[in-house]
């Protein structure tokens, strides 16, 4: 069987290579941490959960089946860890559900407009605003947007990780982008 880069690393880790595990962590750290922090919206919790994730990966690595892609397996473990945490600490409110928060965000968006005073924003500013809006949409949409664009996963991989049918994944991502578009349009933040 031909092993991919990740799998070569895993074989070395299982043989006791510390350095290989560090390499694997550094490879996934950014995508895991950013997913977690945008899900839980708390720095400390994100650090704690990311650490828990890597420790978990290490402790169940011997159970990993080389027939599957490592990344999908790992992202599923990460997703379950985050969802578990959120279920146990249901304090997260999806901001876009409340009207008064929209008002507050209107003020924020005014501050956001560049010094020219017009909403003719630079491309980068649209991007920043877009990603800020991602943090505000309901979790069932946010998680899929994050998997698709932040973790750069395919629809079928997202379906496997979230346990949803592929059709549902696609529909929700479409719905999520519609939500995002309308929100950004409402705030006049398109370039």
């Amino acid at each position: 069987m031909l092993l991919d880069d990740d799998q070569v690393l895993i074989e070395k880790i299982l043989d006791g290579s510390k350095l290989s595990f560090e390499e694997l962590m550094k490879k996934y750290n950014k995508k895991i941490y950013n997913f977690v922090i945008r899900m839980v919206r708390n720095d400390e919790v994100a650090i704690e959960l990311t650490q828990d994730f890597f420790i978990k990966i290490f402790s169940v690595l011997h159970k990993y089946n080389f027939q599957y892609k490592f990344s999908t397996w790992a992202y599923r473990i990460c997703y379950n860890l985050v969802i578990d945490h959120i279920r146990k600490n249901q304090v997260y409110v999806d901001s876009l559900n409340g009207d008064n928060i929209s008002q507050k965000r209107l003020v924020e968006s005014k501050n956001f407009i560049s010094e020219d005073g017009f909403d003719n924003l630079e491309k980068d500013e649209v991007k920043t605003y877009l990603w800020k809006t991602v943090d505000q949409i309901p979790m069932k949409y946010r998680e899929l947007i994050l998997m698709r664009y932040l973790q750069e996963l395919k629809y079928d991989e997202i379906a496997e990780i979230s346990g949803l049918p592929v059709g549902t994944v696609k529909n929700r991502i479409f719905k999520a982008k519609e939500l995002l578009r309308k929100e950004i349009e409402k705030d006049g933040m398109f370039a």
């Binding site: 649209v126 877009l130 982008k177 519609e178 995002l180 398109f190």
Partner: protein, 186 residues
């Protein structure tokens, strides 16, 4: 043709429509300013989403994880130490047991009770006390079996249980000292 729903535009962008439907949408986009704007907004969004704003993860994550997992790994030397510690403990149990019968060690300790090594005497005294109470329990259990079932358990089984006890004790100390320090919160 009526205006395009968001979903249609997204499908068009993902190229997941039949060529007939795609060309119908292309035609509509040429004539309809409103849908054109929507389409452009989706294009902008797609570009922004495809290039995420990442936060650099704090360096402590990798460091902490490495510290936490590689302490927990048992090494050959730690397994060897565990067995050696059990043996030492067992030998001292046996020594104290035989000494206990003629009390010479305790007598000797009483004589040197003012010496700087007094604490060793205290420890041995405590072990002796534990041992004598274990021995007393053993004797009463033995007596009980003798009266009820008319059998004698014998010193072999007693020795064996002392060995098991030693192993459990060493393992408990190991768990307390080694494993716990590995799991420490950072």
């Amino acid at each position: 043709m009526e205006c395009l729903r968001d979903e249609k535009i997204q499908h068009y962008l993902e190229k997941s429509l039949s060529s007939v439907e795609a060309s119908r949408i292309r035609d509509h986009l040429i004539v309809c300013k409103k849908c054109q704007l929507k389409y452009q907004q989706y294009v902008q969004m797609e570009n922004g989403l495809a290039d995420p704003v990442y936060t650099e993860p704090p360096a402590q994550i990798v460091k902490n994880v490495m510290k936490r997992i590689y302490v927990k790994l048992p090494t050959y030397s730690s397994i060897f130490a565990l067995i050696a510690a059990s043996m030492v403990l067992l030998v001292s149990w046996i020594y104290i047991y035989f000494d206990f019968s003629n009390n010479s060690l305790i007598q000797a300790l009483k004589l040197t009770s003012n010496s700087t090594y007094n604490w060793i005497g205290q420890v041995i005294k405590i072990i002796s006390n534990i041992f004598s109470s274990v021995y007393a329990i053993f004797k009463s259990i033995n007596k009980f079996f003798e009266i009820i079932f008319n059998v004698n358990i014998g010193i072999e089984i007693f020795g064996f249980s002392v060995l098991i006890l030693s192993m459990i004790l060493v393992y408990a100390i190991y768990l307390l000292l080694v494993k716990r320090s590995g799991k420490q919160k950072i």
